[in-house]
Point group: C2
Chain length 191, copies 2
C-alpha cells in the first residue's frame, strides 16, 4: 500500500518539501491502521500519534477528517480499478471474470475500514474520487458488455448496478455477516 502517487492536487503545483512528502505517507499509513482498528470513529489525535507526528501536521496535510478519509478511499478506488482491469484482461468465462472482479473488490473492502465506512455513509467522500470512479465504471461497463455478448449475464445489467450491490456487500462485511455468501447470492441474480 501507500504506493499510489499523489500527483498534483494543489491547484498551484508547488513541490512538497522532502520531509513533508515523507510525513504525508506516514500519516496515510497510520490512518489505514487506526481506521482498521477502530472503524470510522478513529480519532485524528490517534492517527497523528500513530504516525509519530503532531495533530497540527496532520491538519496541514488533510484539512478535515473527511479529506483524510477521502484520500484513503481515492486510493482504494484505484485498487478496485486494478482488480477490474486484471479481470477484464484475464481469459475464461466472462461471467466468472466479472465475479472474480467483484470478489477481489470485496476483499479489498474487507481490509479497509475507511472505505467500508464511506460505502455506507454519505456521498461527500466519493466526490473526491470522481475521476477514479469514472474509470472504474468504464471497466465494469466493459466486463458487463462481454458477459452480455456471451449471453452469460442478464441483459439489463448495467455498470450502475455494481456500486449499489457492492455497498450492500460492504454493509455485510461491516456487520460481520457471511459476506461471501451474500456475494454469491447476489452473483446468482446477475446471470
Amino acid at each position: 500500500m501507500s504506493s499510489t502517487d499523489t500527483g498534483a492536487e494543489d491547484t498551484d503545483a508547488r513541490p512538497l518539501r522532502a520531509d513533508a512528502r515523507r510525513n504525508r505517507e506516514r500519516l496515510l499509513d497510520a490512518a489505514r491502521v487506526v481506521f482498521g482498528e477502530n472503524g470510522s470513529e478513529a480519532q485524528m489525535d490517534d492517527v497523528a500519534e500513530r504516525a509519530g507526528l503532531g495533530v497540527g501536521t496532520l491538519y496541514r496535510h488533510f484539512p478535515t477528517k473527511t479529506a483524510l478519509m477521502a484520500e484513503l478511499v481515492r486510493q482504494k478506488v484505484t485498487v478496485f480499478a486494478a482488480h477490474a482491469r486484471t479481470a477484464l484482461e484475464a481469459p475464461g468465462d466472462p461471467f466468472e471474470r466479472l465475479a472474480a472482479a467483484l470478489r477481489s473488490c470485496a476483499e479489498a473492502v474487507e481490509e479497509d475500514a475507511a472505505t467500508r465506512y464511506a460505502m455506507g455513509a454519505g456521498t461527500e467522500i466519493w466526490d473526491a474520487a470522481a475521476d477514479e470512479h469514472e474509470q472504474l465504471m468504464a471497466l465494469f461497463d466493459a466486463l458487463i458488455a462481454r458477459g452480455r455478448a456471451a449471453g452469460v449475464v442478464r441483459a439489463d445489467l448495467t455498470a450502475a448496478d455494481i456500486p449499489m450491490l457492492m455497498c450492500g456487500i460492504a454493509t455485510s462485511i461491516e456487520r460481520g455477516f457471511d459476506w461471501r455468501r451474500h456475494l454469491e447470492l447476489v452473483l446468482a441474480g446477475l446471470r
Copy 2:
C-alpha cells in the same frame, strides 16, 4: 403507527400514570418524525421539543438515545412480522409470496430512518427486539420452506440469509440508490 401496545416492560409491572402513558406515545411519535427528517443524527432535544415536552421527560421514558431507537426498531420488527404473516397466508406462487414479503418490509424500512440506521449500525439496538426478531425469523423460515417444497426457491436458502440481504437493501435505501432495482436483482438470485 404508534399502535403496538407497550405491554409490561418494567420488571416491576407498576401501571404508568395516565399522563405518562400519553406522553410516552407522543415521544415515540415525535421520534419517528424527527428521525425521519434528520436521520440518526436527530437530537434528543429536538425529539422532546417536537413532542411538546422537556428533555427530562424524554429521559424519564427512555434512559438513553439508543433505548429510544431500540423501541422504534422493536415496533418496526413487529410490522415486518405482520407483512411476513400476510404473505405466508396469501394464496399464489410461493416465490412471489416471499418476494412480496421482502418488498413490503423494504417499504417499511424506507419509511423509518431509525430502523434504517439500526440496520446499518451495531447489533446493540437489535438485542432489545430479540423476541420479535425470533418470530420474524420463524415466519421467513416458513415462507422459504414452502418455496423450497415447490421447487421455486434455491435449495440452500435459509432464513438467516434474509436479514443479511435486507441490510444491503437498507443501505441502498439510505444512500438513495434505486433500491427496488436492488431488491429485484437480489430476488433473482434466490430462485
